[in-house]
């Protein structure tokens, strides 16, 4: 009884202490939002780890000031992400924020970011419209849009791989629609035809009912999955004897390094496109991948690279301002003006809409030294989110949907 009362009083006291405001001078505070619990925890952890690696490399200092990282768990739930953003901005007084994983979170945060005028870096959230029809001045995307790597890949599938008919199977949500939409557009404009489209609910873990329906008369199957779903899909695709009959291609996440080490031979030969591959043969990437492996004993996924590079972006902006980041407008402009030439993924700059112009790599899963990897077999340099289209005309068309 008494004890519990004491606990309550103590809790309130602690709460009271937490309420005290912070000082203005001192370290540069970066608020960071990713899921660290729940089903998306590992993706969030990978993103955070990439950032931590970078901060360690620079000794938590940039532009002559100390960098302080405040990481908060969003649980992958948009409302929680918003609450945590409020904490970071209103209570912790961060200079800028970074993070986010799901597009639902991205959209949920956008109005708040605008209203508080706080610079925000989205390293992973790939919902097209966040830098297109519903763009926000304060959001800087350092990752990609869902359709971005798929525009060149549709072209590639027709011209280089020589496919004419394709069946698509993808997760039934906006990331799936936008990726498949981008692929389908360029593939069909080149002359190919998507003859069958299947959308699987995000809750499905047995793909058998869908696999039984895949047309045996297509040149290839395009698949978009990630996380546990891509492990399950790849395995079941082989289980049903499809791997030997119809070549499998897909979006980058389908064979991304967050899942690839847990796959077996079923993944061999699958061709996908993304703005990154851990097997990319450049000095910057080799250094990053080996440093990441040394520290976390893991292969770097694109999630890990996303915030290593996103972090470099932030640091570049801070350095450009000599650490004078207190004016948010100035900080935002510095973020937008940054041009990164030595990222693991290559050279990157932002377009006028706040989305990267970056290389897109076509990768094939190979086994090298006993490990699966995404061997880069072709590169589309400097791909914009609008591909070869005129931005104004592109934006006049509706967003890719199912």
């Amino acid at each position: 009884m008494k004890k519990l009362q004491c606990v309550v009083v103590a809790a309130l006291l602690v709460a009271g202490v937490l309420l005290q405001g912070q000082t203005v001078e001192g370290p540069i505070r970066i608020g960071f939002l990713v899921p660290l619990s729940g089903p998306y925890a590992q993706n969030g952890r990978d993103i955070l780890n990439g950032f931590l690696l970078l901060l360690d490399e620079i000794g938590y200092r940039a532009g002559g000031r100390e960098i302080q990282l405040l990481a908060e768990d969003t649980e992958g739930i948009p409302a929680v992400a918003l609450t945590k953003a409020r904490k970071l901005v209103e209570s912790d007084g961060v200079h800028l924020m970074a993070g986010g994983l799901l597009s639902s979170t991205g959209y949920a945060l956008a109005p708040y970011i605008d209203s508080m005028q706080i610079p925000m870096v989205y390293p992973v959230v790939s919902a097209d419209d966040l830098t297109q029809r519903r763009g926000s001045k304060w959001i800087v995307r350092t990752g990609y849009t869902g359709s971005q790597p798929n525009h060149p890949f549709g072209d590639y599938a027709y011209h280089t791989l020589g496919y004419r008919t394709i069946a698509t199977i993808a997760l039934d949500y906006s990331f799936g629609w936008e990726s498949v939409g981008g692929f389908q557009r360029t593939f069909e404009e080149a002359g190919g035809r998507v003859t069958q489209q299947m959308w699987t609910p995000v809750s499905v873990h047995d793909f058998a009912p869908y696999l039984a329906q895949i047309s045996r008369n297509v040149d290839a199957v395009y698949a978009l999955f990630l996380g546990r779903a891509t492990l399950q899909f790849m395995r079941q695709y082989e289980e049903y004897g499809l791997k030997d009959r119809i070549p499998l291609i897909g979006a980058g996440t389908t064979t991304d390094e967050h899942a690839l080490p847990f796959m077996g031979d079923e993944a061999l030969g699958v061709i996908t496109a993304l703005h990154y591959s851990a097997a990319l043969d450049s000095p910057a990437n080799r250094a990053f991948v080996s440093a990441y492996r040394a520290r976390y004993n893991k292969l770097a996924s694109y999630y890990a690279e996303s915030m290593y590079s996103g972090g470099k972006w932030v640091i570049a902006a801070i350095e450009a301002l000599d650490g004078q980041v207190d004016d948010r407008e100035v900080l935002l402009n510095a973020l937008r003006a940054a041009r990164l030439t030595d990222l693991p993924r290559g050279s990157v700059e932002l377009d006028a809409y706040g989305n990267p112009i970056e290389n897109v790599y076509v990768r094939r899963v190979d086994r090298v030294n006993g490990e699966l990897q995404n061997t880069v077999i072709d590169t589309f340099p400097r791909v914009s989110q609008f591909w070869n289209y005129n931005p104004a005309e592109y934006l006049a068309q509706p967003l890719y949907a199912r």
């Binding site: 519990l4 729940g38 039934d172």
Partner: protein, 330 residues
């Protein structure tokens, strides 16, 4: 907690069986809650005002579930559905149709309440664990609908850009404080009405049904109708919370009505103390506080939360509000 006499509809207010020892404890809870909710926002930073707003809204929601779960003895694992659907109604009306403030509020309340009135027809003759299951299934169906009915709900991305309360309602005061006190007023009004309901003869009949439905039936009560009304009332107050939540967050997403949301709600009520109304307020407050304070210190906060749940149930199986020697079972 058996109170058959009161359940028979006598005018006497239900005296909770434990008398002396929990009284000081309860007084402390009420005092602390009252102080924090009334004066706290004036001292706290805007972030904490935001958390308090959350607590107040979720408290309305938890109390509404308590009518069903605590007072009527119908455990619902899909109660977040009404909350979410009302929020969606506000989102759709405000953004797609550009409706005004009162239309949105009325729309949200109406849609949520109507939904509970319709679903109530299906569930009101189901009891106990089967009630748990049918509400869980309905919750999953509605979640699927919010996820799949893309033209209306926006799918997984939901609907954002719902105007702020001040902008939409033409309230002369903007900012978190104004939003908080408006929400607090709504909370007080809802709590008052709910307290009247549970103390009314109708509320006493609900308790009678919880304790012994057969007996209530043989006494001539239409127990189906009572359960139905209880379900609809709970749905209506959940809708109030949903409307407030839509304005508080400014967006709606399928996570509002998923299983996680419904189970968290369930825990708020059962941890705080079912069939008490104050208990759910306490539960909502405690869980919002635990989640947000703890997660700043450890990524393993969910683990800690699980342990806190288990320990609380061991110490206070009837909820923290009912903590005290006679409140313990065994």
């Amino acid at each position: 907690m058996a109170e058959p006499d009161a359940a028979l509809g006598g005018p006497r207010p239900p005296s909770n069986t434990e008398s002396m020892s929990p009284r000081g404890w309860r007084l402390a809870i009420v005092l602390v809650l009252g102080l924090v909710f009334s004066a706290g926002p004036l001292l706290f930073s805007s972030y904490w005002v935001g958390l308090l707003t959350q607590m107040v809204i979720l408290a309305i929601l938890a109390m509404s579930l308590d009518i069903l779960l605590g007072y009527t003895g119908l455990p619902s694992l899909g109660h977040a559905a009404f909350f979410g659907v009302a929020a969606y109604a506000v989102g759709v009306l405000a953004t797609v149709h550009g409706a005004g403030f009162w239309t949105c509020v009325a729309g949200g309340l109406l849609v949520g309440t109507l939904l509970s009135a319709v679903l109530g027809l299906i569930v009101s003759h189901v009891r106990d664990v089967y009630f748990l299951m049918i509400t869980l299934a309905l919750g999953m169906v509605l979640w699927g609908l919010s996820f799949r009915w893309i033209p209306v709900t926006g799918g997984d991305n939901g609907i954002s850009d719902i105007p702020t309360l001040a902008a939409h309602s033409g309230l002369p005061f903007a900012g978190p404080l104004a939003l908080y006190y408006v929400t607090l007023l709504v909370f007080i009004a809802c709590a008052g009405v709910m307290a009247l309901i549970v103390k009314s003869p109708f509320g006493l009949t609900l308790r009678g049904i919880r304790e012994n439905e057969g007996r209530m039936k043989s006494l001539g009560f239409n127990t189906w109708l009572h359960c139905y009304l209880s379900y609809v009332i709970a749905g209506a107050f959940a809708s109030v919370a949903g409307v407030a939540w839509a304005y508080y967050n400014g967006f709606v997403s399928p996570t509002y009505l998923d299983l996680t949301a419904s189970s968290e709600l369930f825990l708020m009520v059962t941890l705080g103390g079912p069939a008490t109304l104050v208990g759910p307020v306490l539960g909502a407050t405690a869980i919002v506080l635990l989640k947000n304070v703890m997660s700043a210190y450890t990524a393993r906060w969910l683990l800690v939360l699980g342990i806190v749940y288990i320990v609380t149930i061991l110490v206070a199986p009837k909820g923290v509000w009912n903590l005290g020697p006679s409140g313990r079972s065994r």
